[in-house]
Symmetry: C2
Amino acid sequence: MSFSLPERVTLKGPNFIREVFERGVGVDGFISFGIGNPAPEAIPVEIIEKAFDEVVHSNPMSLLQYGPMQGDARLAELTLQRLVKAHHMNPEGQGLIISNGAGQLLGLVPITVIETGDEVYMDEFTFTSAINSVRNMGGKAVGIKTDEYGMIPAELEKAAQSGKGKYIYLIPNFQNPTGITMPLERRKEIYAVASKYDLFIYEDDPYGEIRFAGEYIPTFKSFDTEDRVLYAGSYSKTLSAGLRVGFLFGPAKIIEVIQALKNNTAGQMPLVTQKVVAYVLDTIDYDAHLDNVRKVYKMKCDALLNAFDTYASSKVHLTKPTGGMFAWMTMPESVDCDAFFEACMDKNVGIIKCGAFAADGAGEGHAFRLSYTVPTVEEITKGMEILGALTKEFCGE
Amino acid sequence: MSFSLPERVTLKGPNFIREVFERGVGVDGFISFGIGNPAPEAIPVEIIEKAFDEVVHSNPMSLLQYGPMQGDARLAELTLQRLVKAHHMNPEGQGLIISNGAGQLLGLVPITVIETGDEVYMDEFTFTSAINSVRNMGGKAVGIKTDEYGMIPAELEKAAQSGKGKYIYLIPNFQNPTGITMPLERRKEIYAVASKYDLFIYEDDPYGEIRFAGEYIPTFKSFDTEDRVLYAGSYSKTLSAGLRVGFLFGPAKIIEVIQALKNNTAGQMPLVTQKVVAYVLDTIDYDAHLDNVRKVYKMKCDALLNAFDTYASSKVHLTKPTGGMFAWMTMPESVDCDAFFEACMDKNVGIIKCGAFAADGAGEGHAFRLSYTVPTVEEITKGMEILGALTKEFCGE
C-alpha cells in the first residue's frame, strides 16, 4: 500500500551537519568545526559513573518498573531551586516538566499549540530541530532578520502584523548557530512586541550556564510579568548530553497541558538517568563544576578567535561569543560559499553551511557555523590556520 | 496572557486508573487489580544491575555524549533477529525504529500520519494512550464493536465505508484491557477489510511474548504481503518497563518518515538504557527467561481465575486470558457499576471501570479491567474473595 502522509511531515531542509559528519568520519587528520557536541573535557565522567553505581544498586526495582509520569521528584525540586536562586525566577503559578533533553521540548511545544498555518517567529538562522518541528506540525517557521544583538524588534513587528503568530522561538544566550547574545534592552523590546501581539515566547536556554565572558543578562522568564514565557533548560551541556535530561518551566496552565500531551504521546522517561542527574547535583558543588566547564569552553573559544585573528582574511567576519559553543563566520557576498565549503573539506576541515539553519528553508546565505567544543586547542589552531589561508585565497588579504 | 490551545489537546477522558491508584496509595491492606505494571517477580533485577555495571564502565564517554539518532545498533540487530527467527517476519524492504518504550510510538504514529478528521478504528475498549494520542492529533478514535474474538470485521467495514479511515489500531494478543486474543482466522478477515479500504494496521504487541496457554498465533505482520502493517513491540513486559525500550518494525518508506519526525520532535534517547537491554539479550538465554516470566504470569492468572470460579456470582463473566496481564469482568446490565466500584473500594479492592478504555470517550459500560500481575497469589485470592462476595451481593448467586 502507499501510506498517504500529510505534506507537513515530508518537508525537509538540507542536512549539512550530517553531510560534514559522514564525509569526515574515519578521515585521518580531519578537523571538524561541525560537531555540536559539548566539550568532552567538561563532562564529569567519573562522577557520573559513581552516580550510576549508587543509583542502580540502591532501589533497583523502583527504576525497573514504570516510574512517575512527572519525572523524578528530587530532580524537579533541585531544578526549580536553581531557577529561583540562580536565575531569579518567580515560581508562583508556574509549573515544571522534566523532559528527554531540551530536544523533546522542541517537539512538544509545537505539537501542543500549533494549528495549521500558525506562524512561529524565529531568528533567520536558528536551531534546525526547532524549525523542522514547527514545519512538521503544519506551522510556518518565519525567519526574522537579526543584527549583532539578535532578532530585530521592528522586523518582528512587521511579521506579527499578519495576525497569524503563535509564538516567538529564541535562544537569547550564545545562540545556535551564531553565538550571539541578546542584550537586556533588546530582550525588553522583543517582550514588548510579544505583549502587543499577544504572542508567547519560547525561551530556549541550553547554553545559558556556560557564560565565560561579559555580564550575566537576565532571562526573559525572570521579567515575565505577563506569564507569556516558557523557559527551556538542559543538563546536556553542563553535565551530559547522553543522559537526555532537560526541563521546561512556565505558566502552570500551559505546562499542565503540555505534560498531559507528553504522557499520552511519549510516555514516561527512564528514571535511572534522571536519578543520576539528581544524585550528581546533590553531591557535587555545581557552581564550582560550572566554573570548570566555563574555563574549558573559554580556552577553546579563545583559541578559535586568536587563530582567526592571526590567519583569516580581514574581509571575513567572525562573531565573538561570550559563552556557549558556536561562532558564526560571515563571508563577503561575492564569495561562492559552496566552493569555499568544498575547498575546506578538501583540506580536511569541516564547517557547517548556514543553509542548515535557515528558518525559511531556503538554504542559502554567506555564512558558516563553527563549533569549537570538540576539537582540542591544537586542532582548533591548526584547523583555523588552514581555514584562514583559504579565506585569503577566496576573499583576498 | 491566555495561551490559545487547539481543541484537540484539551479533550480528556476519565482517569480512573489514577483515581484507583491515588485512593489506594498508603491504605493498609488495599489490594489493587488496577495497576498495569508488569509482575515484579518476573523482572531480572540482578542481571540488569550487572548489565549497568558493565555498560556504564566500559565506554562511559560514548554514553555521555549525544548518541546515534537511530538508537543502539546492536540492540536494533538483536531485535530484528528475533522478529525474523521467533516471529517469522520478512525483513525485506522493512525498517526498525528503537523507541522510548512502545508508549512513544502511540504518539509518533498519529503525529506522523493524522490529518484533522481522519478516523482511526480501534476496539471499543482499548489502551487509553492510544485513544488519547489520536484525539490529541485531531483524529477521530472510532470504537468498533468486539466479540470474544476481538474486533468484528463486519462492524469495521461499516465504519470504514465513511472513507475517512487512516488506520486500524489493534492489540491482537492478550488485549489491554480485555485480555482477548484474536484468532488467526479473524486476523485474516480484518486484514482483508484493511486491504479493501486501503487502511494500514498498527499492530501493538507489547504482551505477545507472554503467552502462557494455548497455541501461538501468527502476527498480522508475519502475513503482511501488502506492506500495510506497522508492528510495535517492547522489552517493558519481558525485561523492564523502567528502561523504556520499545521498537517499531514496518515498511521502510514509512519507518524513515517516522524516524525523521522522531529526530526532529523528540531527539535521541539515552544510550545507556538501550545498551543495558542489548547486554542482557547478549548474555542471558532469553527464551529460558521468557519461560520463567510466563510461569509467573500463569500462576497469577490461574489464581485469579480459580478464585473467580470459587467466589463470584454466576451472573458475572470473566475472560480467560491465555497470556498477558489483564482479564475483563462483565456485569449484568442491571447492575449500577459506579456503586459496585465504590463498594469494592470501600472494602479495599481496586478495579478499573471500563470507561477508562472507551474509544468513543463515553466512559460508560458494564465492565471492569482486572490486572493480576502486581498483587501476590495470596492477595489475588483474598481480593477475589472480597470482590466475589460483592458480585453476589449486587447480582445474586
